[in-house]
Symmetry: C2
Subunit: 128 residues, 2 copies
């Protein structure tokens, strides 16, 4: 399937696709998926590895990803009991496009910052 056909295919059902994208394109979801693609992790281990995420936001993100069937939650028979999070098979299939998007973001941050500065300078001189 070429790029063009792919585009038409995605646009056939924008409401439902949009709903999925809102969930999986969320920045915290992307970062959790990228991390778990390296292997299963416990809550605190995830929190330590994602700079700037709060306890509450990580809880909410993991619960939403679990609800979507992207992340599994396993209670380990340790004392005290610990919870391990891992990508499901569905989550693993998602990790490929998500990683590609994350890598694009990494590679092009500089260009985006430059574009924003130029835009803001241009619009400041028009608006004032």
């Amino acid at each position: 399937m070429g790029m063009t056909d792919g585009g038409r295919y995605v646009l056939k059902d924008t409401r439902r696709v949009g709903r999925v994208l809102t969930r999986v394109g969320d920045k915290w979801s992307v970062l959790v998926i990228v991390l778990l693609q390296l292997g299963p992790r416990r809550f605190n281990d995830i929190k330590r590895n994602i700079e700037g995420i709060s306890q509450q936001m990580l809880t909410r993100t993991l619960r939403a990803l679990e609800r979507d069937g992207i992340v599994s939650r396993t209670i380990l028979p340790s004392s005290p009991p610990q919870v391990e999070y891992a990508l499901t098979k569905l989550g693993q299939s998602l990790s490929e496009p998500v990683l590609a998007l994350g890598k694009w973001a990494c590679d092009h941050i500089g260009e985006i910052d430059d574009a924003q500065s130029r835009f803001d300078a241009r619009h400041e001189s028009i608006d004032n």
Copy 2:
């Protein structure tokens, strides 16, 4: 670069990468990028092709994508003047991972809906 290395690379700078992802992973941005990857379009043409987007939301999305250097805005010398939107070179490089993510969302909507129903049924019985 393997998947694992790619993951570590993305996680090196989660704050800045997260900021870019918040912008480009937004569902309306994804749908606009997917549409413009088919070719340049005018405002009303974009609006017609993205079900459920409001005039205000499309204006805001296009302006943010223009600010990021992903979309260009050209005033056509017609009467009345019309504005055409197109992907820049940076936007074209983004369209590949974005299209892959959109296609994944399309292909797996059913699985996600099923997972959500199962999760909700499970938690309803626990919570009540």
